[in-house]
């Protein structure tokens, strides 16, 4: 039995509880049965093949047992002493390892929230990502949702401590397919900084299919940082879907430094006047890594501003994909939307496939996009060398300089410094 058949059989046996998750789950079950795992014919998956990842014998549904506090201590992020820490192990939220320092922060299981006073919120936002992501992989997560959380940052709450979210895969005993799920609600006037990281321990294969949906209300301010520095056997589809429901501010920084096949879907839906969104990304990959950043900025309402800058540095045999969609719906007049993707290839075997995609249905808008793929600037290299800086160090300086205007947007200092340090290490070991 192939894994897809296995998943389909699992679907048949699914028992969908009668709560506010149900409608989305039922849709997802139908969608997955129809669409299955996206193959190369799916327009959005042309350059990122995940079919083979399902031809493995995974532990599914995954279990979190076997992971310990000591294991966690080895992978906590700098600054954790002053952060809220939410821990997922093999896709299941582990409250026993999580640390909630901000009293205002409400964490409930998704199933619980779908039945209590939050059920309306859950009904409104759970599964909304499927409106933009029409593929079986998104449906798969929703269909089998299990062990997910609902995070409520209530109206007026300004979190003074960031929220670290660990997506941990324990592949020490067997291969693991895990599907973490979370729904985050950020109320009016609330402020929060979210930091996500992905860590796989053990040598077996892993495939993580994560979906996070975030609803942001009026006058809220959100910083979101995704740090990916996993092992080369760790495969990941990471979907982060933001809805800006009122005039609000969002900025995101996606950093990818290592992994197997990594696909990031980042959606920002601007559903109110005068929303502001910034999307930054840096991917610096080597070896056989495959990094795919698919972003969607969906302008639904007028007068919104969005700015997107993704930069790539590729070494070894790494392959990169950037696909940046900007939708401007017909009511979204006076949209300002900018997008830029710049890539440096440091080796002959590295590659990048970049594609901006603007679909504009309003007439009074300002949109721009641009992409470049090139090598390190020879003139700059010579300039540095001629001042006594040896070639490898000059290269490092230039890569670092290239990354600067992404890294400077990582606001939590401990995380900023941590990423800089990871990049330094990479520069030391990964440059040709």
């Amino acid at each position: 039995m192939t894994n897809v058949e296995y998943l389909n059989k699992g679907l048949d046996q699914l028992n969908v509880a009668d709560n506010s998750l149900a409608p989305a789950r039922k849709n997802a079950i139908t969608s997955f049965s129809k669409m299955g795992i996206p193959g190369a014919k799916h327009e959005e998956w042309r350059y990122t093949r995940i079919g083979n990842l399902f031809n493995k014998d995974y532990q599914f549904p995954a279990k979190k047992e076997g992971f310990s506090k000591t294991d966690l201590d080895g992978i906590r992020l700098p600054g954790h002493e002053e952060a809220n820490e939410l821990v997922f192990v093999n896709g299941i939220y582990a409250s026993e390892f999580s640390v909630i320092r901000s009293k205002e922060l409400v964490v409930q299981s998704l199933e619980e929230a779908a039945g209590n006073e939050n059920k309306e919120i859950v009904a409104l936002h759970f599964g909304h990502s499927s409106s933009l992501l029409k593929d079986g992989i998104n449906a798969l997560n929703t269909a089998f949702v299990h062990g997910g959380i609902f995070l409520n940052i209530k109206k007026g709450t300004v979190l003074s401590q960031p929220v670290y979210i660990y997506t941990i895969t324990d592949a020490r005993r067997e291969s693991v397919l895990s599907q973490p799920r979370s729904l985050i609600y950020i109320g009016e006037n609330a402020q929060a900084e979210l930091v996500e990281t992905y860590v796989t321990i053990g040598k077996a294969d892993s495939f993580t299919n994560q979906v996070m949906e975030v609803a942001i209300e009026k006058d809220a301010k959100v910083g979101y940082y995704k740090i990916q520095n996993d092992r080369q056997q760790a495969n990941l589809v990471s979907t982060t879907h933001f809805r800006q429901l009122g005039k609000s501010y969002l900025h995101t920084v996606t950093i990818s430094l290592n992994g197997g096949i990594v696909r990031n879907n980042l959606n920002v839906v601007l559903e109110a006047d005068h929303c502001e969104a910034h999307l930054y990304g840096l991917y610096f990959m080597g070896g056989d890594s495959h990094i795919d950043n698919h972003t969607i900025v969906d302008n639904v309402m007028p007068n919104c501003f969005s700015n997107e800058l993704y930069k790539g540095v590729m070494t070894g045999k790494a392959a990169g994909v950037f696909n940046g969609k900007i939708f401007v719906r017909k009511d979204a007049q006076k949209t300002n939307a900018y997008q830029s993707n710049k890539n440096i290839l440091l080796s002959a075997d590295a590659s990048v496939n970049t594609k901006p995609q603007l679909e504009i249905f309003a007439d009074d808008v300002k949109c721009s996009h641009g992409c470049t793929v090139g090598q390190l600037d020879e003139d700059a290299l010579f300039y540095l060398q001629s001042r006594g800086v040896p070639a490898p160090i000059a290269q490092s300086l230039l890569v670092r300089a290239f990354a600067t205007d992404i890294l400077e947007h990582i606001t939590p200092k401990a995380i900023h410094d941590y990423v800089e340090q990871l990049i330094s290490l990479k520069l030391e070991y990964d440059l040709p």
């Binding site: 010579f382 300039y383 540095l384 001629s386 001042r387 006594g388 040896p390 290239f402 990354a403 600067t404």
Partner: protein, 254 residues
């Protein structure tokens, strides 16, 4: 100190330097003048070690070493410095960060310990005052958005920081206001002593009023076609290059 013999170089198969002979001794200042496109910057780039210029013939001896065998950073380590005609802009890298790396890499090359923060800052302050450069400029990304004059002053500031034995200034006076020329010249003169040498490429006699050369050479069509003392610069200023071009062309029987 620097001995160039029959140096020929080409770029993309096109011959640009067609046999340069030039000897510069310690303590001397040489000026190179010549019409646009004659090969002055090419000569400077070849001396600094730019890869895209292929040396097809000739030799360059520098402080007893075969200069052409050395990588650009090794040449810098040996005390060679080139102030670029067109300094490169590097967004994301501050001048301070860059110059600190350069100073310490050169020290490493020479087997010296890196400068500690205090010593480095002291040196920075001293050279900044000398070059009349403010901290704000140096905290900005290297040359990015600098005015033409600021870029040139930054070049000479870096030269002052690196204290080269052999400095090559490629049109460092172009684009400078009158005060800045004096500041730059002053910076160069402070560097001068019996153990080092300077090669200035310029189009204007004016700079040579401040940095008085021992010799003036005219580069034309990839060759040094005339050499003289500082009076030659005055003569060129007055007559232009035509009389030299005529001499050369007659000499070559064109």
């Amino acid at each position: 100190m620097l001995k160039i013999q029959n140096l020929k170089a080409s770029v993309e198969g096109k011959a640009i330097l067609k046999g340069i002979d030039l000897e510069i001794k310690a303590g001397e200042v040489h000026a190179i003048m010549g019409p646009n496109g004659s090969g002055k910057s090419t000569l400077a780039s070849v001396l600094a070690g730019r890869k895209e210029y292929e040396v097809t013939e000739g030799s360059v001896e520098y402080l007893g070493k075969d200069l052409l065998e050395l990588a650009p950073e090794e040449r810098a380590g040996e005390g060679l410095f080139l102030a670029f005609q067109y300094p490169v802009e590097i967004p994301g890298l501050t001048t301070t960060n860059f110059i600190k790396t350069a100073v310490n890499e050169i020290r490493k090359y020479r087997g010296e310990a890196p400068l500690d923060a205090v010593a480095f800052l002291k040196m920075m302050k001293e050279k900044m005052a000398m070059m009349n450069i403010g901290q704000s400029l140096l905290s900005r990304p290297l040359n990015e958005g600098f005015s033409g004059g600021e870029k040139k002053r930054n070049e000479v500031f870096q030269m002052a920081m690196l204290q080269p034995k052999m400095a090559i200034l490629d049109e460092t006076d172009s684009g400078l206001d009158i005060d800045a020329i004096r500041i730059v010249a002053n910076g160069v003169n402070k560097l001068r002593n019996k153990d080092n040498a300077v090669l200035v490429v310029t189009h204007y006699q004016r700079l040579l009023d401040y940095i008085v050369p021992d010799f003036v050479h005219v580069l034309y069509n990839g060759r040094i076609v005339k050499s003289g003392t500082k009076e030659l610069a005055l003569e060129l200023e007055e007559k232009g290059y035509d009389f030299i071009k005529n001499e050369v062309n007659v000499g070559e029987g064109v």
